[in-house]
């Protein structure tokens, strides 16, 4: 019988070796992989018989990608292009990329030239995603993506298959919400790095398999006594990387007890509406996502969402993991900073990039936060 720690170790191992994990997952499920970044209609790919695989860059030396994305572009997309050009992603039958920021808008054309061996399926989300016209547009857009995936698979995708795929994902999202809740009361067992890697492993595994592991882990965590830590923090930003930062958090006994990260909770925090078919539910999940800088929201509710997360999880502070040159995230920062200050919630701003190798100053900032709150 598995222990919580053995499941955690296994999932961390999977997250740290994506190439191997994806190969195993494809073999186990008898599927081919389709890559995606940020928000993409994964359920469509799953329904078409593919294994959707997250491509969130990585800590690698950029040599080839400089031809298309200069040093002042998002380091995640630089790494994605680098991996694509280097052949690391050759297992992927296609990639689905959303056009939610300036870099991603350019990527779609760059990708065709830089990585010609892997077809790209752009996903263009509507600005006015909550209006009926925006929802109608997104339904059409998802239908186009569905047709492209059908062409790739060489077969049509039935509505029943899509409903089944959506159910797999909705069960996974529910399991992930339960896990993050359980993890917040076990900040030593599920420390910052483990929490990130456990969630990240889901990007390289079949969602049904990841759901099974997460459900069991959540059950086992519930049997363990609750744990304390020096600082309980809420993380916000694009990704909780590089993992070197998470190591420093752990060294200073700072736990991430909740997150507002695009790679983590924003993927599963919005439950589906009860009504409608699978395609409508996918559209509404995008419409119902609040406080995400990659989806247009003039009301700017991110600050209040962070305040709510702090209260719900009895957190001591918010940590901004600002991916260097991530414009949408940078535009949000002054807005929620002011709101957090008004609410008396300490905020630590850390500018990060995937290819960073010096953590000295970040270590000082994290340690200072811990000293400030003790």
């Amino acid at each position: 019988m598995s222990s919580a720690q053995s499941i955690i170790d296994a999932l961390c191992e999977k997250a740290l070796h994506p190439d191997r994990t994806v190969a195993e997952s494809c073999k186990q499920a008898g599927k081919e992989a389709v890559g995606f970044y940020l928000y993409a209609p994964e359920e469509l790919a799953y329904a078409a018989g593919f294994l959707p695989v997250g491509i969130w860059g990585g800590s690698t030396e950029i040599k080839l990608a400089d031809r298309y994305l200069q040093g002042f572009c998002c380091s995640i997309m630089r790494a994605d292009i680098e991996y694509g050009m280097r052949g690391t992603y050759n297992r992927l039958r296609a990639v689905m990329l959303p056009t939610v920021c300036d870099t991603l808008k350019c990527i779609c054309e760059n990708w065709k030239v830089a990585v010609p061996q892997i077809p790209i399926i752009p996903v263009v989300y509507p600005q006015n995603r909550t209006l009926p016209s925006g929802e109608e547009y997104l339904r059409e857009e998802f239908s186009r993506v569905r047709r492209e995936l059908e062409d790739l698979a060489g077969r049509s995708v039935s509505d029943a298959e899509l409903e089944a795929a959506f159910a797999v994902y909705e069960t996974w999202r529910e399991a992930m919400r339960a896990f993050t809740k359980a993890a917040s009361t076990h900040p030593q067992t599920v420390h910052a790095k483990a929490r990130h890697l456990i969630i990240k492993a889901g990007y390289f595994m079949d969602k049904a398999e990841h759901t099974r592991e997460m459900t069991e882990l959540t059950r086992l965590l519930a049997e363990l006594p609750e744990e304390k830590c020096a600082v309980r923090a809420v993380a916000t930003g694009l990704v909780g990387e590089p993992v070197g930062v998470l190591d420093i958090l752990r060294e200073n006994d700072v736990a991430i007890v909740a997150d507002d990260l695009a790679q983590e909770s924003r993927q599963f925090r919005v439950p589906a509406r009860a009504e409608g078919d699978a395609l409508s539910k996918m559209v509404w999940r995008i419409a119902d996502q609040k406080g995400c800088p990659f989806l247009y929201e003039p009301e700017k509710t991110r600050g209040q969402k962070l305040i709510d997360l702090v209260k719900e999880n009895e957190a001591d502070a918010v940590i901004t993991l600002q991916m260097k040159f991530c414009d949408p995230d940078e535009f949000d920062y002054p807005v929620y900073k002011a709101e957090l200050e008004a609410a008396g919630i300490p905020l630590l701003y850390l500018e990060v990039e995937q290819q960073m190798d010096s953590f000295g100053q970040i270590g000082t900032r994290i340690q200072s936060l811990a000293e400030m709150l003790l």
Partner: protein, 264 residues
Amino acid sequence: MYLGIDIGSSSSKAALMDDERRILGTKIVNLGTGTKGVYEALENLYAEAGITREDVRYTVVTGYGRLLYKDADRQITEITCHARGMHFLMPRVRTVVDIGGQDSKVIRLDEDGTVRNFVMNEKCAAGTGRFLEVMARVLGCPIGELAVLAAQATQDVAISSVCTVFAESEVISQLSQGAHPNDVACGALRAVAKRVAGLCGRVGVEPEVAMSGGVALNATMVRILSEELGCGVTPAPDCQAVGAIGAALLAGEFYRKANPVETA
């Protein structure tokens, strides 16, 4: 006795304190982390105080090189140590500006000297002592003379670039076009002051404002920063040793906490 050590990127500082929180001495050596600077500072400090290493009950090390120094009982960040040191020296200070060789920081303090908030510059050297070192080299003067040159300026030469490398080219270009070195020196100080004022804006400035670190010895810099912030800025007494003094204070506190009977 309690020892505080602050190992910065360009200098090493040490302070000694007794049980009554009297400063018994401070020493500064202009050699930073990875050098023998800290050992030289300690040797001088012990010799001046007439003590040996065995007389020190507890040591706290801080600064950029704190993690490499293995002879301390505990390491604490420079943010906390500068805050404690400044509150001890100037209890009415609520905003601390420390321009170090490698980074700059602004610390907001509560009435009891605890850190309410802080901000540090990003990785780039603009707004740090390193920027001033580069400017002094281009102007062909020791860094200590930048203040003297700048004080004699008749006008600022605006340095528009925020990057140290580009600013160096810009200054060379200004000098080749006939700009007076005094005016260029003043422009360099203002460029740093503007950058630091920007940092201050991120945490908010609450008077009184004081400067710690070696750059606080530059009176022209203090004046220009005061102009940029629109409020008075005071250099701390023994400004270079503020972090080390804070570390020595904490050393005493940690020791007394661990040995309540002995120190009662």
